[in-house]
Symmetry: C2
Subunit: 252 residues, 2 copies
């Protein structure tokens, strides 16, 4: 008997059942791809109703821990953890955090500077033609003057994603998804109005060529310039807003 019913207080049963199963997965009592007992069996063995069991299972499904399949060979199965799904989840949550103003923009820029510097260095150590080509493609996209602001930002994100991927370091990539999917868009959102695309694209090219040449210092320097420019743009945007405020209510 893998799952046990541990004397539950009379509130949040579904939550507790979910936690019970979750811990079974986490400490390996339930292995990847293993099938859980059917919902009815679970209900019986926990002494609760099937809808309640289902609520618990849905919680786990929402956390990407299990997935379900119908039919005779169906059931609820322990899902193989995948970095892709995790990064999606992180992205969404981090985006919300950013959206609610949990972080200062300057703070975000600092984090970008430090972490992307790492990526440049690692990428330059062992340049991978495949990712170099990806970055090249995006730079070309960014040089297209007819591009919408939205598409330009999207290409910017893809460029930096390629940069991160080219490090070939799985754990680092996992961490960097937050930067790529949440922090880069927010910095773009704020500064893209005042930003000169040619400048950005040209700095992207400097980064690329630095990496291609195995010249980490050059890539890092270009990245530094890029983020300096972003930071200045942000300061300028703040200043402009301040000026509008002063001009808007001088006679008050």
């Amino acid at each position: 008997m893998i799952l046990k019913y541990d004397e539950v207080v009379r509130s949040g049963i579904a939550k507790q059942v979910a936690e019970n199963i979750r811990s079974a997965i986490m400490d390996g009592r339930l292995k990847v791809d293993e099938r859980l007992p059917s919902e009815e069996d679970l209900a019986r063995s926990f002494g609760i109703s099937r809808p309640t069991v289902r609520e618990a299972l849905k919680r786990l499904a929402a956390q990407n821990l299990i997935h379900s399949k119908r039919g005779p060979t169906g059931g609820n199965f322990v899902k193989r953890p995948d970095p892709e799904g995790l990064s999606k989840a992180i992205t969404g949550a981090a985006t919300l955090l950013v959206g609610v103003g949990a972080f200062d923009i300057e703070e975000i820029i600092t984090a970008r500077r430090e972490t992307e510097t790492i990526c440049c260095r690692l990428a330059a150590e062992r340049p991978d033609p495949a990712y170099l080509a990806l970055m090249e493609d995006e730079i070309r996209v960014q040089e297209d003057k007819s591009l919408s602001d939205e598409d330009f930002c999207a290409s910017d994100v893809r460029f930096h994603r390629a940069l991160v991927d080219s490090t070939g370091n799985g754990p680092l990539k996992l961490m960097m998804y937050t930067v790529i999917e949440a922090f880069i868009p927010i910095t773009n959102m704020i500064v893209f109005r005042v930003r000169e695309r040619r400048r950005v694209a040209s700095l992207h090219r400097d980064i690329l060529e630095g990496i291609r040449a195995g010249d980490a210092a050059r890539a890092v320097a270009a990245l530094g310039q890029l983020l300096d420019y972003v930071s200045q743009s942000y300061a300028a945007a703040l200043q402009a807003r301040e000026n509008r405020k002063l001009a808007g209510s001088p006679e008050a």
Copy 2:
């Protein structure tokens, strides 16, 4: 009417409702702390049953997007996103990934080296007495010879967490939780058998004193030595296993 019923195909209704509400939260149509319609109202307006609505809501609750309260003033409320909850979620998922062997240990050590180096540098720029004291405490704990292996590892994690927190950079802290809660434990798990505690504690002290003195180079150097040591210990552990294998089946 905030939530609309968008012509749904006949499968995965709960999932789609969850996605509908989720997007309403993500793009701000539902604000933080705002109350959702009662479950019955939701069921009516989506044209589905209440249990199905509840499954959807549970999915969202599992993602920390909403929380519920009973009673007349109760209901389901949009939850304020908190870094704490997010880091918990990341931690769990990353731990699973590590557990399933998704990452190479050397890769993890590299990621630790690069990212924790950042933390040392930022921490040394503006040393914060509060966090210095925390690190000092943990080093003292680690010098206690009667400590269990488990407690030593736990203290190790707390030391590195204090190091990260002392950078004062919110976005960076968010990213580093993965390292702290998932990567550090796994590296510890693998090498703690061959590891000399005195050596580790002493390197921790070097890091601390480097930061205290505002001497980033010294802290970074000590961190490097620490991770070199971890890496060597890992190699030694691998070698030992290899030897056992050879000794175990020589006549085969």
